[in-house]
Symmetry: C2
Subunit: 421 residues, 2 copies
Amino acid sequence: MSADVIKVGLLGLGTVGGGVIKTIRSQQEKLSARLGKRIEIVKALVRDSEKERAVQIDQAILTTDFEDVLKSDVDIVVEVMGGVEPTYDYVRALIEKGCHVVTANKELLAKRGTELVELANQHEVHLAYEASVAGGIPILSVLRQFLRTNDISGVRGILNGTTNFILTKMEAEQLSYQEVLKEAQELGYAEADPRSDVEGFDAMYKLYILAQLVYGESLPLADVVRKGISDLSAGHIHIASELGYRIKLIAQAYQTEQGIRLSVQPTMLPVVHPLAQIQDAFNAVQLSGNIVGDLLFTGRGAGELPTASAVVEDLAYLLTQPFAPHPAWKEIAATQSGALQEDQCSLCYLEGSCSSATPDRVLHFLRTAGVSIHKLKVQFDLGGVLRAGLITSGLTAEHEAVLESDFGLSVRCFPVLETAE
Amino acid sequence: MSADVIKVGLLGLGTVGGGVIKTIRSQQEKLSARLGKRIEIVKALVRDSEKERAVQIDQAILTTDFEDVLKSDVDIVVEVMGGVEPTYDYVRALIEKGCHVVTANKELLAKRGTELVELANQHEVHLAYEASVAGGIPILSVLRQFLRTNDISGVRGILNGTTNFILTKMEAEQLSYQEVLKEAQELGYAEADPRSDVEGFDAMYKLYILAQLVYGESLPLADVVRKGISDLSAGHIHIASELGYRIKLIAQAYQTEQGIRLSVQPTMLPVVHPLAQIQDAFNAVQLSGNIVGDLLFTGRGAGELPTASAVVEDLAYLLTQPFAPHPAWKEIAATQSGALQEDQCSLCYLEGSCSSATPDRVLHFLRTAGVSIHKLKVQFDLGGVLRAGLITSGLTAEHEAVLESDFGLSVRCFPVLETAE
């Protein structure tokens, strides 16, 4: 690095990239005092160098050619372009030139992190990624700190702000998924193609990164249970609420005797559960340490400045730390299925015609089959449609099949997370 | 320090001291790997060396004479005996011998911290105190991290678990303060002499420490607004709830044009406010950074292991860091009174006989006096007692005096914290 300037390259200049520039500018004095050097953005890779931007930037810094970044001899690259291709190739080339990397890209880390960590260690450069999980919540640094004096048994949370915003609105305004999605897209909370958020991919990538940190390993992505929220109906949310529950897209990693398990799925929480209180686009992460107990961290999980705050903090931190090898990332295939365990409580939502399924007959069948029913809510509408919510344990896929075939019911079961867990 | 052992002295062996010993034992392997040395408790100062203890400890380690600790050549002292005298003298003597200090003692820090910080800097020893605020929540380390890239405008929270437990119980079970205090004492959540907790001293000490960190200065303790919970009645809590509010003992530090202000007082929160959700003996701290936005951290604020976790983490952390001077602590006297600002919203609780104060007459007086009334709840009981809750702005001490003298009402006003703030 040169004597008095740290040369930073930017890959991507969207919302977060703009936030990084603004933050470096507004905090330049603080940063210089801490680092003894000025931070300068010397090159920024963009798709379109003519585009109008919310942040003022010298046109000469912009380039659409990655080779310009590579040739500009940057000390550190901040990768906020997203995606895996060509991002992986770019980051790889920069690491091989001895450049430190700060990234907010959870997909890249979840898909190619094992290689990137190894490569960074080989070339003795820092790879920092606090911004990739839960935006401004410093969850990775907090986890690293706790891991030094605690065994952490599990971590769970709401890791995607878009889906939490949608679920909050669906409940509060009794709207359908499609109506709220449209509004979220208009507000800029959801992408034009919302699949990564609403199908749980984004939360899964973040969970994968958390698992690598907490357990020193993760499951391959293919072994992570992943269910999204796009098939949730106002009926599900209403019945849940009548039974005292709220649906959240919960990501969790925990240890079992057969190894770790990772899941991202709509989950029923008692309304008094701390994670049930997390509304709108907020994120929250709960961790359980054997010594410190349960802790909960809440904050904005995305957005220009919260994410930029984490990026700039990583950048400043790594400049003050000597290189130390990053613990290797490993993937261990799951040894058991990710399906609901039979003894686990679930909330089952049944819907169908009263003519084929009367509550009496349905309950008789379930009880005879050995399913325990802890709580029950039944509704009929004028059109003769039965909607029922049951808190059950012992309900298997076979029982679900019978409810569908013999009673003509559509069935959707959600795992239940109790407060005491 | 000797080649392969770090010699630790303990001042105090109560609940937290026992937790520290248990934690060091259960995490010895992890700690040794990290530090390259074994941690050994070589001396523990206790009041009574014959007392039965929850933790097994070699009798030869115990002493009732501080001189034994001083002579035993410890590298680090863990101070968990509490109080200011003689604790201050002991800690001072150890610092002067070049011994690092880890303390969980908020009272000591709030009353003598400016001197201890200066002394530690003079003797180039670490002074670490994560455990002194919010138990296992790593709030000081998180704040230090954010301060590097954020300007923090304010910090507020629930810093005392005992009072939060009492308020939670009073509301949930509609019990009086005295009934719940008794239960809390039986459960070990409150001390036999509960004054430090229930009168807000404990929370004030913690707030003082937070202010030193966030602003590089604090007010002298005498300038901190401090009100406790011992005069809260079931009536206050009931009226608050009817108006959509919940009372919490809120500690906050914030900047005004006239300098910083610190207060600890029962405060009305809308029930949807994140801090209103913090129940039982939990603590929570909310901070607002200009870049990261609002963050909330929740966890157990006290107890054997959460506090011990913070102590042991401090201990291990300082052993891996070279000495760096601690920023000096300063005290700046307040330049304005800590009373409620006139334009601030407050919830006023009025109680008196219907014969002297009819709602009509009271409201007429307030409106004529220019007080705005945003929300109102009035109750009468069979005995002719009027109880009213008013959300007002513009109510001054003079108005309160008139309500008391001319209407024979008892008046208690609480500041209101709105969600949007």
